[in-house]
């Protein structure tokens, strides 16, 4: 992926499943390198589907989608996916969970170990490396899931409501941690969330989606300087943006006829 060409480029993309009405339509969106784009919108509007299109887990039905200048492919090696649930293998320890993707990619053992060590320390879980997932809290499991994604040294990170199931304090904390990691690693992120505050805190840009069919109704640039810290949340600029995006989201949710 060269610096000049966009990392992800949607041009009038549509997605339908079988004969059902389209889930996504007219999606045009361009992500430059190192952008952090949040997708926010009513549930069922196709946010997860959009991520799955980028990951090549599901084919587009119309329009053009380029990832790193090429059609999406699920075996793209510089892409990592983080799901809403931690999605860990319960029979493996934290360390082995983090290494499992590398193992599948035939990464040599010493390299694997080094990458896992680095990821463990990035998410501050080194002391829990030999624990099993069931021994961890929800926030800790999510950090393992993020660490696993980071070992892949992704250029593109797709996160589907990764902190949706966590309490607000843990979520704030992990948001700060994620940005701290972003300072040290350079990736482009697509981040699905239901939380406006989270979207504003993390993103360089927020895309607000409406449903039936899912389409982007607003794009809001977030001009807050990085690094963002807990103090950022107290700044008027941040709070103005949160209010603005909340209003946009409310107008979308009100105008969207909810599916039964």
């Amino acid at each position: 992926m060269s610096a000049s060409s966009p990392v992800v480029e949607f041009t009038d993309v549509a997605k339908r499943f079988g004969d059902a009405p389209p889930v996504l339509s007219g999606i045009t969106l361009c992500a430059q390198s190192n952008e952090f784009i949040s997708l926010i919108g009513p549930s069922g509007c196709g946010k997860s589907t959009l991520l799955r299109l980028i990951a090549g887990l599901s084919p587009v039905s119309g329009g053009k989608l380029l990832v790193g200048g090429r059609p999406p492919a699920q075996e793209a090696s510089d892409l990592a996916f983080v799901f809403q649930e931690p999605t860990l293998l319960p029979w493996l320890t934290v360390r082995r969970n983090i290494e499992v993707m590398l193992r599948l990619r035939h990464t040599p053992a010493d390299r694997r170990r080094a990458l896992a060590d680095e990821a463990l320390s990035l998410v501050r879980l080194t002391s829990l490396a030999t624990h099993y997932p069931r021994q961890l809290s929800g926030g800790q499991k999510m950090r393992v899931s993020i660490a696993r994604a980071l070992t892949l040294e992704p250029k593109l990170l797709l996160l589907d409501e990764p902190f949706g199931a966590l309490d607000e304090m843990t979520r704030d904390h992990l948001n700060e941690e994620l940005l701290a990691i972003r300072e040290r690693q350079r990736w482009t992120a697509f981040f699905v969330t239901h939380s406006v505050a989270e979207a504003v805190f993390l993103s360089t840009r927020i895309a607000v989606l409406a449903a039936n069919p899912g389409h982007i109704v607003h794009e809001v640039p977030v001009d807050l300087p990085y690094p963002r810290t807990p103090e950022t949340r107290l700044s008027p600029a941040y709070q103005t943006l949160v209010a603005k995006v909340s209003l946009l989201l409310r107008s979308v949710e009100v105008s969207t006829p909810h599916a039964a």
Partner: protein
């Protein structure tokens, strides 16, 4: 008293109470001329002692049949489950015939088997196999197709081969289901071998099992010996079930929620 001591003491007390009740019922409730129908526990123990060699060899024969049938069912059901997990179409085409296997009563099957392979161990093994097979194949298949969809996607995104996906992901996540099937089959196996032995066992040359003994003892109206046979059959069942519980503990205790230690 500690919880641990209680959990040991209570079953013993319950057992003592039950045996006491047994004597009371026998001596106070049942008329004297009917008492032979419910032999006293000590009489049963004596019968067991007197016929120990006979019971022991019958138990060995039954255990052999049960173990072979059970083991064969585990191996074959696992292989078949792997195949069935491939597609809903494959499952839809095979399940009705698996049901046929399960629904055919042993009493109908036995004479056919005797004609095909002759009476004896072979027939007993086949009957045990058939009785164990269905719960195993159904549970294992269910486990293999219940893998977390997102995990499958993660594996595909890591370019996992089909074999890696099956053996590193689907099989381990199916283990809890597999052990559920295994527990059911383990309790069915000795029963299957005993019933199979009663219908299609071999009476000649000390090759009979517990099913054969049951027929002999009931024909001779030896009730204490019959009860002793029942007790030995239960013990055999306990050994089978216990072994599977142990195996499942070994395989799952580290990670599965069902073995999560409770905070006391």
């Amino acid at each position: 008293m500690s919880r641990r001591a209680l959990s040991f003491l209570l079953p013993v007390l319950a057992g003592a109470f039950f045996i006491g009740l047994w004597y009371v019922v026998r001596l106070q409730v049942i008329a004297a001329d009917q008492r032979f129908l419910l032999p006293a526990p000590d009489a049963i123990l004596r019968a067991m002692g007197e016929r120990a060699p006979m019971l022991w060899s019958a138990t060995l024969n039954t255990a052999t049949g049960a173990l072979l049938g059970f083991g064969g069912a585990v191996a074959l059901s696992f292989t078949l489950a792997l195949g069935l997990s491939l597609s809903p179409l494959v499952r839809a085409s095979f399940y009705p015939y698996l049901m046929v296997l399960q629904l055919t009563p042993v009493i109908v099957l036995a004479p056919i088997l005797i004609l095909w392979v002759g009476p004896g161990l072979k027939s007993v093994v086949i009957i045990t196999f058939l009785i164990c097979f269905f719960p195993l194949v159904v549970n294992t298949t269910q486990g293999l197709i219940s893998t977390d969809r997102n995990l499958v996607d993660l594996f595909r995104m890591s370019r996992a081969s089909r074999l890696q996906e099956i053996f590193l992901l689907r099989v381990p996540s199916a283990l809890p289901y597999f052990f559920t099937g295994l527990r059911i089959a383990a309790t069915l196996a000795p029963i299957g071998a005993i019933v199979g032995d009663a219908y299609a066992g071999n009476s000649g040359g000390g090759q009979g099992g517990l099913g054969f003994l049951t027929i002999i003892f009931s024909a001779q109206f030896q009730l204490p010996a019959l009860f002793a046979t029942a007790a030995v059959s239960c013990l055999l069942g306990f050994v089978f079930a216990g072994a599977v519980v142990g195996l499942s503990w070994l395989a799952l205790r580290q990670w599965h929620d069902s073995y999560q230690r409770k905070d006391l």
